[in-house]
C-alpha cells in the first residue's frame, strides 16, 4: 500500500472540482469497503482520496411528492431498515440484505454499491494487466471464467457485482449526478451503466469530476410488487452467481408491466426485455416463464466454464416470479 492523502471537501462542488483536477490518482471514497481492498492489494494506488463522508446532506432517505429520495451516502444497513423502503420496495430490501455481510452493510453505502469495481479475479490480480487496466487482452475469455458474463461480453467479461442495481432498475429508479460546474443531471439508472464496448476501463458513464449524489425511486403504483432472488454459492458473504430482480403489478396471475433485471450475468445489470415482452399479459405459469427465459437465453454466449449460469437463470426466474403471485 502506497501513501496517499485524504481530502475532506465540505461540498459536492469542492469534491467535484478536486476530482476534475486530475484524470488519474484521485479517487472518491464513500464506505471504502471495496476501495480499501483495492488499495491494500495494490490494484490501485491513489494519490488522493476524496472523502465523501465530510460532505453534509448526502445521506438519508426522504419521501418526496413523486419519489423516494435516497442519498448516495446512505448506508446499506440503513436502507434495509428504513420503514418507507420496507413498505414500498420489498425487493430492494431483499437485495440489500442479500449483499456482503452485516459488518460490510453497516459501512458500505448505496452510492458505493452502485459504483463498486468488478470482482473479476484477473482485474484484481496486481500482476495481470488486462484490458480493464489498459492491457490488450481479456484473460477470462479463454481462462478461468466460472463466475464471468454470459451476456454482453466481448471486450471484457466481467459481471457487475452490485445487488442494489438490478433491484433499483426494476423499480425504474433514477440517478442524480453532480458535475464540476454545479450542474445536476438526473437520468435513468439503467442508462448509467455502460458495457465494456463503450469504455472498457469503466462500468458506467461517469465523466471525470462527476459524482453520484442521489437515487430516486418513483412512488409505487397501487398493487406494485417487487422481489429479489439471489443465487449465491454459500450462505452469506458471496456475490450473485445469478440474481433476478422483479417489479411490477400482478393481478389474476398475470402482469402487463413486469420488469426483469438480472445480476451476475453481464458487465452491467441485465434487463431481460425479450422475456418481459414474451410474458406480458400471459398467465404466469412456470412453463410460460421458462419460455420467456428461453427467449433471452438464446442470446447467451457462455464461456467454457459458465454455461451453468443459463440453467440457473432458467430455474431462478420462475422461482422469483412465483414468489410474487
Amino acid at each position: 500500500m502506497k501513501e496517499f492523502k485524504i481530502a475532506q471537501p465540505q461540498s459536492l462542488e469542492q469534491a467535484s472540482a478536486l476530482l476534475a483536477e486530475k484524470s488519474t490518482g484521485y479517487f472518491l471514497i464513500a464506505g471504502g469497503t471495496d476501495l480499501l481492498d483495492e488499495i491494500k492489494n495494490t490494484v490501485i494506488a491513489p494519490e488522493v482520496l476524496i472523502d465523501l463522508r465530510s460532505i453534509p446532506g448526502l445521506s438519508g432517505i426522504k419521501t418526496e411528492k413523486t419519489h423516494v429520495s435516497i442519498g448516495a451516502m446512505t448506508r446499506v444497513a440503513e436502507l434495509a431498515e428504513n420503514p418507507v423502503i420496507k413498505e414500498n420496495y420489498p425487493g430492494l430490501v431483499e437485495a440489500a440484505l442479500s449483499l456482503a455481510s452485516p459488518q460490510l452493510r453497516n459501512v458500505g453505502t448505496v452510492g458505493g454499491n452502485l459504483c463498486q469495481r468488478p470482482r473479476c479475479w484477473y482485474y484484481r490480480d496486481v500482476d495481470t494487466i488486462c484490458r480493464k487496466k489498459g492491457g490488450s487482452r481479456c484473460y477470462a475469455f479463454r481462462g478461468r471464467n466460472k463466475y464471468h458474463a454470459i451476456f454482453g461480453g466481448g471486450v471484457c467479461y466481467i459481471v457487475h457485482p452490485s445487488d442494489l442495481a438490478p433491484a433499483l432498475i426494476s423499480l425504474d429508479a433514477d440517478i442524480a449526478i453532480d458535475g464540476p460546474d454545479g450542474k445536476r443531471d438526473i437520468l435513468k439508472l439503467e442508462d448509467f451503466f455502460a458495457l465494456p464496448q463503450k469504455n472498457v476501463r469503466k462500468e458506467n458513464i461517469l465523466e471525470p469530476g462527476h459524482i453520484v449524489s442521489e437515487i430516486r425511486i418513483p412512488l409505487p403504483k397501487k398493487g406494485t410488487k417487487s422481489t429479489y432472488h439471489k443465487f449465491k454459492e454459500r450462505g452469506t458473504w458471496d456475490f450473485a452467481v445469478v440474481s433476478v430482480a422483479l417489479a411490477g403489478t400482478v393481478s389474476n396471475g398475470l402482469s402487463t408491466d413486469l420488469k426483469i433485471v438480472c445480476g451476475g450475468v453481464a458487465p452491467v445489470p441485465w434487463r431481460l426485455k425479450k422475456a418481459e415482452n414474451f410474458i406480458r399479459g400471459k398467465k404466469l405459469t412456470e412453463d410460460i416463464i421458462k419460455q420467456g427465459a428461453g427467449q433471452v437465453l438464446a442470446d447467451a454466449k457462455p464461456l467454457a466454464e459458465n454455461a451453468y449460469k443459463m440453467d440457473l437463470l432458467e430455474s431462478v426466474l420462475p422461482m422469483a416470479v412465483s414468489s410474487m403471485l
Binding site: 500500500m1 479475479w121 495481470t128 454459492e233 450462505g235 451453468y308
Partner: protein, 754 residues
C-alpha cells in the same frame, strides 16, 4: 541457503505421512497398560479451556502481538512467474533507502512456482519495508511452465524439474490376486473420484520473530513444531541446535501448514542477523495461499468386484496426485485397510507441476482416499442392492490390512456405526439412491474413517513441585488450538488430586523436554501419558512423606480433594500443600510416554452420518445435520474433544461444498488467493453437528488408553456429504467441491442416461 531452498522445495514429500504411518512398534520398549480409571474425576469429563478466557478476550499474545525493543518489520518479495531463471537480483537500491536495515536475495537459480520467495527486506516500519520491496530489481527469464495436472501429464508438456519427468510412479501395494478376485465377482465396477487442491487457510497467517543475542537465536514462531523448527533452522543456518530456542504460546490454526520450518522464519533469522536487530515477518493472506503448503489434488480410479452376498472379492486403485513442486498424497490407505478384502492392488503416480509445494493438510491422503473409497463403497453396495451400512458391517474386520494383517489393539467402529445410525435416523434414507421426488431431495449417507494417532513413544514431560504447594506441568509440546494446555492440566490435576486451575502449565518452548510435532493427531496421546507418568512418580514420592506424617503405610493412603488421607480412617488426613511444605527445595519428576507393544495395530476410527437437501433446480446442497461418532480411545476432556470434532466436520463440509484453489494456465498464477474467492463455509452454512464418542479405553496403547483426535473428524467429513447427496439424487458427484455447476451437470447427465 539457496541450495537448501531448492532442496526444501523439491524434497520428496510423504515425509510426515510416512512418519505418522510408520510401524512404531519397531523399537518399542515395554509398554504401559491403561488403568480402568473408573473413578476419574476430571479425565473423561468436561473441563473448560484453562486459557479460554484469555483467548476470547484478546489478552492471549499471538506471535504478531509480540513487540521487542528495536524490532524491525520484514517483508518478502515473491515471484510473479510460475517458472523463471533469475538472472540477477539487485538489492542495493533497497538497502540504500533510509530506514532499511537489511535486504537480502533469497533465491539463486530457478523459480519453480508463482509466489516463491525471491528477496527479503527489513526496515523500521511496514511502510518503509514495502517501499524497499519495490526497489529490489530482479531480472527474470521466464520459462515454460505447467500448472494443471492434466497438462503436466501430456507428452511434451513443459518439464517442471530438469532431472526427472513430470509423472513418476511411486511405491505401490499389492496383496492376493486381484484378477482372480474380479473373476469371482458377480459385479465389477470402475469409478473415478477427484479431489481438488485445498489451502489450509489458518485464521492466523504465518508469522515469525527472530532475535539474536550474540551467537544465540530466539525465534517466536507460529508453528506446530517448535523442535522441528529449531532443528531444521540449525541445519539451514549451519549453527548448533543448542543455540536456538523456539517459542510458541498461542496460535490461530495451522492444519499442517505450520509443520516444520517455513520460509518466513528463515528470512526473519537471516535479516535479523544482518541488521543486528530483531525482525518480525507476518505473511499476507495472499502469500499464505501460495507458499506455505496445500492439500494435493487426487484422481482416484477404483475397480471393485462384489458378490451378491456382500463379499468384496477384489479392489484396485489407480491413483494420480499432485502437490505442485513437492510430492502428492497417498490416497490408498482407506482401501488397503478399513474394509475386509483379500485381494488388493495399488498403482500410484505423482505429478509435478509449477504450483506451490504441498504440505500435510489435516489427515493427508486419508481425506482424499476416504472421499474416493467411501464413495466407491456406496456405489458397490448399490450395485448389489445392499444398504450401504449393512454392506460395511458385512465387511467389518478386527485385523488390519482388510482382515489379512495383525489385530487392532482396539476398534470401536462397529459401535460407532450403531450409535451414529440411531442418532441420524438411518431409516429415513432413500432405500434406492435418488428415490425421492420433487424439486428438493433429501438424502442420508454415512462414511467410515481410519487414522493412526497412537502418539510418539519417547515423549517427555516434567512435573515440578514447589515447597509453597504450587505445581507445574512442563512439556516441550505446543498447543495449536486443540487444548493441549488444558489436557496437561487435567491429567496432572487428576493424578495429584488437585483442580486444573492449581496446575501451572508450561509448554511451547523448545528448551522444555521433548515432544513430537503437533501433527498426525500425535499430541494428546504423547503428552498426556508423559505428564501422567511424571505425576504418578511425584505421587509416589509424596505418598512416602504423607505416610510418615500420618503414620500409616503409604499403601494405606488415598489422594484426592487436595488431601492425603488414611483409607480406613478418612478423618485422618493431611493437606496436599502441607505435604509439599516438607520439601526442602523444588523437586522435578520426569515422565515419559512408553512404547507400543508389538503385534498390534494402533488406529483411531470414526463413522459419520449426514442428512442433506439438494435443490435439483439450482444444484445447491444444504447440509441439515451431521452426526460424528469417533473412537479415539479414552477421551481426556469432553469439552475440547467436542470442539475438535465440530471443527473437523466444519472443515470437511467446507471442502466438500466450496473450497478450491483455481489456477490459471495462461499466467501460471492462482486466481483466488483471498478469502472472497477462495470460499470457506460461513456460519450460515454450518448445520447441526452432533459429536459423540465410543469411549473405549485402549488396553495397551499408553497409560491413559487415549488415542489422537485431531485428524479423525476431518477424514470422513467430505465423503459423508457426498454419500448423502448420492442418496438424495441418485447420482454420485465424485468430485469435490460439489459446487452447483457440478451438481447441475451430473443431474443433466442422469437425465440423458434415462
Amino acid at each position: 541457503m539457496a541450495k537448501k531452498d531448492v532442496k526444501l522445495a523439491m524434497e520428496e514429500s510423504n515425509l510426515w505421512y510416512d512418519a505418522f504411518a510408520s510401524d512404531q512398534t519397531a523399537h518399542a520398549p515395554k509398554g504401559d497398560s491403561a488403568e480402568t480409571g473408573q473413578d476419574f474425576k476430571l479425565i473423561g469429563h468436561y473441563t473448560k479451556r484453562i486459557d479460554g478466557e484469555k483467548i476470547v478476550t484478546g489478552k492471549a499474545p499471538f506471535t504478531q502481538d509480540i513487540k521487542l525493543r528495536g524490532m524491525l518489520i520484514g517483508k518478502i518479495l515473491r515471484s510473479p512467474h510460475a517458472k523463471a531463471e533469475v538472472l540477477s537480483i539487485d538489492v542495493s537500491a533497497a538497502n540504500n533507502l533510509p530506514g532499511v536495515k537489511a535486504a537480502l536475495p533469497m533465491v539463486r537459480g530457478n523459480i519453480f512456482y508463482a509466489g516463491q520467495m525471491v528477496a527479503a527486506v527489513a526496515a523500521i516500519d511496514e511502510k518503509t519495508a514495502e517501499k524497499a520491496l519495490e526497489l529490489v530489481k530482479v531480472e527474470y527469464k521466464p520459462l515454460p511452465f505447467v500448472v494443471s495436472e492434466n497438462r503436466a501429464k501430456e507428452e511434451g508438456a513443459p518439464q517442471v524439474f530438469d532431472d526427472r519427468p513430470n509423472v513418476q510412479e511411486r511405491r505401490g501395494y499389492s496383496r492376493g490376486d486381484v484378477e482372480a478376485g474380479f473373476k469371482r465377482a458377480d459385479a465389477v465396477i470402475e469409478r473415478t473420484y477427484k479431489t481438488t487442491v485445498e489451502i489450509h487457510q489458518p485464521a492466523e497467517t504465518h508469522s515469525s520473530i527472530a532475535s539474536w543475542q550474540g551467537e544465540r537465536l530466539t525465534i517466536w514462531d507460529s508453528t506446530q513444531a517448535i523442535h522441528s523448527v529449531r532443528d531444521e533452522l540449525a541445519e539451514v543456518l549451519q549453527i548448533p541446535a543448542s543455540r536456538i530456542r523456539v517459542i510458541k504460546q498461542y496460535m490461530g490454526g495451522g492444519f499442517g501448514s505450520k509443520l516444520g520450518l517455513n520460509g518466513q522464519t528463515v528470512a526473519a533469522a537471516m535479516l535479523a542477523k544482518e541488521a543486528h536487530r530483531p525482525v518480525k515477518i507476518m505473511l499476507t493472506r495472499k502469500s499464505n495461499s501460495l507458499c506455505v503448503g496445500n492439500r494435493p489434488s487426487t484422481f482416484q480410479t477404483y475397480k471393485g468386484g462384489v458378490k451378491k452376498d456382500g463379499t468384496i472379492t477384489a479392489l484396485s486403485l489407480l491413483s494420480y496426485t499432485s502437490g505442485g513442486i513437492r510430492g502428492g498424497d497417498r490416497s490408498s490407505e482407506p482401501m488397503i485397510d478399513v474394509h475386509k478384502c483379500e485381494n488388493v492392488k495399488v498403482e500410484d503416480y505423482n505429478i509435478y507441476m509449477n504450483t506451490g509445494p504441498s504440505k500435510p493438510t489435516r489427515a493427508p491422503g486419508l481425506v482424499q482416499g476416504t472421499f474416493g473409497m467411501e464413495g466407491f463403497m456406496d456405489e458397490l453396495a448399490n450395485e448389489i442392492g445392499w444398504d450401504p451400512l449393512a454392506f460395511r458391517k458385512a465387511n467389518y474386520t478386527t485385523k488390519n490390512r482388510g482382515g489379512t494383517g495383525i489385530p487392532y489393539s482396539s476398534k470401536g467402529l462397529d459401535k460407532a456405526y450403531e450409535i451414529g445410525a440411531k442418532e441420524i435416523g438411518w431409516h429415513k434414507r432413500n432405500r434406492v439412491p435418488g428415490g425421492g421426488t420433487g424439486r428438493i431431495r433429501r438424502g442420508v449417507g454415512m462414511a467410515a474413517g481410519i487414522w493412526w494417532g497412537a502418539g510418539s513413544p519417547g515423549t517427555q514431560a516434567d512435573v515440578k513441585l514447589h515447597p509453597d504447594g504450587s505445581v507445574e506441568a512442563i512439556c516441550g509440546t505446543q498447543d495449536i488450538g486443540c487444548g493441549t494446555k488444558t489436557h496437561m492440566a487435567v491429567v496432572a490435576a487428576e493424578t495429584l488430586g488437585l483442580n486444573p486451575a492449581d496446575i501451572t502449565v508450561r509448554l511451547g518452548n523448545s528448551d522444555y523436554p521433548w515432544a513430537p510435532v503437533s501433527g498426525g493427531s500425535l499430541t494428546t496421546p504423547s503428552v498426556g501419558p508423559a505428564v501422567r507418568d511424571a505425576a504418578l512418580k511425584a505421587v509416589e514420592y509424596l505418598m512416602e512423606i504423607a505416610a510418615s506424617k500420618l503414620k500409616v503405610p503409604a499403601s494405606q493412603i488415598l489422594l484426592g480433594n487436595k488431601n492425603f488421607s488414611d483409607k480406613s480412617d478418612p478423618e485422618k488426613s493431611v493437606p496436599f500443600k502441607e505435604v509439599l511444605g516438607e520439601l526442602s527445595h523444588e523437586m522435578i519428576f520426569h515422565g515419559e510416554r512408553k512404547g507400543l507393544p508389538d503385534g498390534y495395530a494402533y488406529n483411531t476410527f470414526g463413522a459419520q452420518f449426514a442428512e442433506v437437501e439438494v435443490d435439483t433446480a439450482t444444484g445447491r446442497i444444504k447440509v441439515i445435520k451431521v452426526v460424528a461418532v469417533h473412537d479415539s480411545g479414552r477421551i481426556l476432556n469432553k469439552q475440547t474433544a467436542e470442539s475438535q470434532v465440530i471443527g473437523g466436520v466444519t472443515q470437511g463440509l467446507s471442502t466438500a461444498l466450496f473450497e478450491q484453489r483455481i489456477m490459471d494456465d495462461t499466467t501460471g498464477r492462482m486466481v483466488n488467493p483471498n478469502l472472497r474467492d477462495y470460499k470457506i463455509a460461513t456460519s450460515m452454512d454450518i448445520p447441526e453437528i452432533v459429536p459423540l464418542f465410543v469411549d473405549i479405553v485402549d488396553p495397551r496403547i499408553n497409560n491413559l488408553g487415549a488415542k489422537g483426535l485431531g485428524e479423525p473428524p476431518r477424514i470422513p467429513a467430505s465423503a459423508v456429504i457426498a454419500n448423502a447427496v448420492y442418496n438424495a439424487i441418485g447420482v454420485h458427484i465424485r468430485e469435490i467441491p460439489m459446487t452447483p455447476d457440478k451438481v447441475l451437470r451430473a443431474l443433466k447427465k442422469k437425465e440423458v442416461a434415462k
